[in-house]
């Protein structure tokens, strides 16, 4: 078969092998002395780079095929097969996954290189890269998996790596707790995914449980089951992509090293939910209600996270909430059936958000692990490369034309407006304004004005080349990635959308050019307002205000963590201890306790007869004999 290639499975295998080798080396080094960091770094970067090269090969091979049959498959082996359920360990590369594949391996490689600088002199250098490789391998399985079950392997694998890397500095209890939180919340989402798969299988899975077969059979799905499947899968997406109500883990996940935040918690893993919804677009397209739910959840998350982002003081938390907010946009996009717009935003977001995180990492590195923006300031001249690259990233995030974020975000807002989701559009534009505000609040406070912490400022210096080069590469991406999908109004022809079209069941509304212009205009105005307010308040240097009223409420994230703690975690633990302390000894133990109590009482009652004198026992015997005789002589006649 022309679509079968034998190297797809190797793409995730390389980083996985790297993870294994690095892990064994690290364990070895724990007891038998150090292994030089260069060796680790070399091995760590080999896997991602080879994967990236393969990704390019895949991309060009697909490009050479006719658009309607662009896909490559590789069925490595039968994973398990029970009854009607046949799961192959199979990999599928189609336009959608190849796009994901490209930027995941590309950004992954860059961040690996960056980490060599950032993690230098860390005690567990090898462990870090082992986990990073493991993550990349899992992410590639997620992207390339030919069916939902294989995707689930990667899905959980990235969750595991996220856990391991968040709790990387595991001596500190808070970090481990953040890791636990991430894993558990992700698992809640995974439950949705799992059940969604189960429903999907029993509905249409008998004819093959991979995307291609499912897509063929998707018309057999009844609307009711379809809705259930969509909503359950979306629960999974919510967990992984930090949407309401499962977004709480992502800000805490910033406890991990900064490259981790850039790679896992901004560029790749958290977008897996969007990818998944786009993957199942053939089902979502049949169930508009599910799409509406997705879109509204997304846009409300975007709003909520943007509000939280306005009031944070930790540079990474600001970026984390910004990530949640942008993910909300993506869901709004895929929710209104503009799948390619959503995926395109995933793509551009990966560049500028990774850039911002890495830039923040460079700042943190320079300031010796200071993360509070109210203790920074005036770094513009000290770290020019970082400043300019981050500025590009910030402009892209804020949606300034012609940076990458502008085009992708605009595409989503336009789709929402065009499909008649006016409410979503209004909120989306508002969020765009807020985004511009908090992004530039951060930029102004960090790089402009006067230094607030003189001592740290004096020690700060530009990061080494191994860290700045990835920044520059990403900045180029953030600048130009948007042009890949230039809409016709700017003279482009939506290249990415057309590339993705065969994988998705996209919906292109046809509306007048005036609507498109309106969408663009409002976005630009919102950006301008946001940046102006930020400049007015923070541009000239500002002192930290007292958080009062709404600001305090927002700073404390509407007390949602506390709410979850009281409503979910405490009752959970309480139930546990009620079972253990009350139910278990008093109720379920009752049969045992009752029977032993009965035996004891009965024993005590019969003890009276055990006088110990043989003669008395003989008397008992004789009494028995006598009674028997009485009875027998009745019958003897």
């Amino acid at each position: 078969m022309e679509h079968t290639v034998s190297y797809l499975g190797l793409i995730p295998l390389f980083p996985l092998m790297g993870a294994l080798v690095l892990g064994v080396m690290h364990i070895y080094s724990c007891s038998r002395g150090k292994i030089p960091e260069k060796l680790y770094a070399g091995i760590a970067c080999v896997g991602p780079v080879i994967s990236f090269i393969y990704a390019l090969i895949v991309f060009f091979q697909l490009k050479g095929m006719p658009p309607e049959s662009r896909f490559l498959v590789h069925d490595a082996f039968t994973w398990f097969s029970v009854g009607d359920l046949h799961i192959t360990m199979g990999f599928l590369a189609d336009p959608l996954s190849s796009l994901m594949l490209l930027f995941v391996t590309f950004i992954g490689s860059l961040i690996h290189i960056y980490s060599i600088g950032y993690m230098a002199k860390d005690e567990n250098f090898g462990k870090f890269f082992s986990y990073m490789n493991l993550f990349l391998g899992s992410m590639l399985i997620l992207v390339l998996g030919s069916g939902p079950v294989v995707m689930f392997v990667g899905w959980e694998g990235v969750g595991l790596c996220s856990y391991l890397l968040i709790s990387y500095y595991s001596e500190d209890t808070d970090n481990v707790l953040a890791g636990n939180k991430a894993f558990i919340v992700n698992r809640i989402g995974d439950l949705g995914f799992l059940l969604g798969m189960a429903f999907l299988f029993w509905a249409i899975g008998a004819g093959g449980f991979d995307y291609l077969s499912l897509r063929e059979n998707s018309h057999l799905l009844t609307p009711g089951i379809g809705l259930v499947v969509c909503l359950l899968l979306f629960v999974g997406a919510c967990g992984k992509s930090a949407q309401i109500p499962l977004f709480v883990w992502l800000p805490d996940a910033m406890a991990g090293p900064t490259p981790v935040s850039a790679l896992i918690h901004a560029a790749t893993m958290v977008t897996a939910g969007v990818y998944m919804v786009a993957r199942f677009s053939f089902i979502y397209a049949h169930v508009p209600i599910a799409g509406t739910v997705v879109a509204w959840t997304g846009i409300l998350t975007a709003l909520l996270a943007a509000i939280f982002g306005m009031f944070q003081r930790d540079i990474k938390k600001i970026l984390a909430y910004s990530t949640v907010s942008q993910l909300g946009y993506m869901f709004a996009g895929v929710g209104v059936a503009a799948y390619s717009a959503g995926i395109f935003h995933v793509f551009t977001h990966a560049f500028f958000k990774a850039l911002l995180f890495l830039g923040a990492g460079a700042v943190i590195y320079a300031l010796h692990h200071e993360q509070d923006i109210w203790k920074m300031g005036g770094l513009k001249d000290k770290m020019p490369k970082t400043y300019w690259t981050m500025l590009i990233g910030a402009l892209a995030l804020a949606g300034c034309p012609p940076f990458a974020g502008f085009f992708s975000k605009d595409e989503i807002l336009f789709s929402a407006l065009a499909t008649g989701h006016t409410g979503i559009w209004v909120i989306g534009v508002t969020v765009a304004g807020i985004t511009a505000y908090y992004t530039f609040r951060m930029i102004f406070l960090v790089f402009h004005g006067t230094p607030r912490d003189k001592e740290a400022f004096d020690h700060a210096e530009e990061a080494p080349g191994v860290m700045t080069i990835p920044l520059i590469v990403l900045a180029v991406g953030a600048l130009f990635a948007g042009f890949l999908n230039l809409p016709s109004i700017f003279g482009g022809n939506l290249n990415v959308s057309h590339w993705l079209a065969p994988s998705l069941v996209d919906h292109h509304p046809h509306v007048g050019i005036s609507v498109e212009l309106l969408a663009i205009a409002t976005s630009v105005i919102a950006f301008a307002i946001g940046i102006t307010i930020a400049y007015r308040k923070f541009g000239m240097g500002a002192e930290e205000p007292e958080y009062t009223g709404f600001a305090k409420f927002g700073y404390n994230k509407f007390y949602i963590d506390e709410l979850y703690n009281t409503v979910l975690i405490k009752p959970y633990k309480a139930i546990g201890s009620v079972i253990w302390k009350s139910l278990e000894p008093n109720v379920t133990d009752l049969p045992v306790k009752l029977s032993s109590w009965l035996y004891q009482k009965a024993g005590a009652a019969f003890k009276v007869f055990q006088v110990g004198y043989v003669r008395i026992y003989a008397i008992y015997m004789v009494i028995g004999l006598s009674i028997m005789s009485l009875l027998l002589s009745q019958s003897l006649n």
Binding site: V622, S626, I627, S629, L630, S633
Partner: protein, 169 residues
């Protein structure tokens, strides 16, 4: 007629001996009364034409076992004050008799319901050494041998039990 008189005499003697056994406080007196019972039982065996058993009863039972008993009583040198205080033994005896009454009447009922037969002396070799020996070694050989082992074991056991404990202390 003479046999019936003999039977009456022996049975009265044996019952009296038995009653004596349970009533006398000192074991020596009890042992003596038991000897009376044994001897009268031997007489009754003779009346039942069990010649060999009559002989064995006299020699082994009334002779050997009872003299062993008496020997032990004397060996222990039991004084009256060493004996258990059995002030209310008559009460026990009475109570026991009441409890046993149903047993006795039941057994009596069973026995009397059996077909009766005259207990005249059987002539010929019945109960003689030769005849009993033939039955014993022809039909009862295995039990006989087992009994011999039992006796051997009892012998060893008795030696072990009554012997002085050197090992344990």
């Amino acid at each position: 007629m003479f046999a019936e008189w003999l039977f009456t005499g022996f049975s009265i003697l044996s019952v009296l001996g038995a009653i004596g056994l349970v009533i006398f406080r000192h074991p020596m007196n009890g042992a003596m009364s038991l000897v009376i019972t044994m001897i009268s039982l031997a007489g009754l065996y003779a009346l039942l034409s069990a010649k060999l058993i009559f002989a064995i009863q006299l020699i082994v039972y009334a002779g050997a076992i009872m003299s062993l008993m008496v020997f032990i009583i004397m060996f222990l040198n039991v004084q009256t004050e060493d004996l258990p205080e059995e002030k209310n033994r008559f009460l026990y005896l009475f109570g026991g008799a009441v409890v046993l009454a149903p047993v006795f009447f039941f057994l009596k009922k069973v026995v009397t319901s059996l077909p009766g037969s005259e207990a005249t002396i059987v002539g010929g070799g019945f109960g003689g050494v030769k005849e009993v020996g033939l039955v014993l070694f022809r039909d009862w050989l295995l039990p006989f041998e087992i009994v011999s082992i039992l006796l051997l074991v009892a012998l060893v056991g008795a030696v072990l039990l009554a012997g002085k404990r050197r090992m344990s202390q």
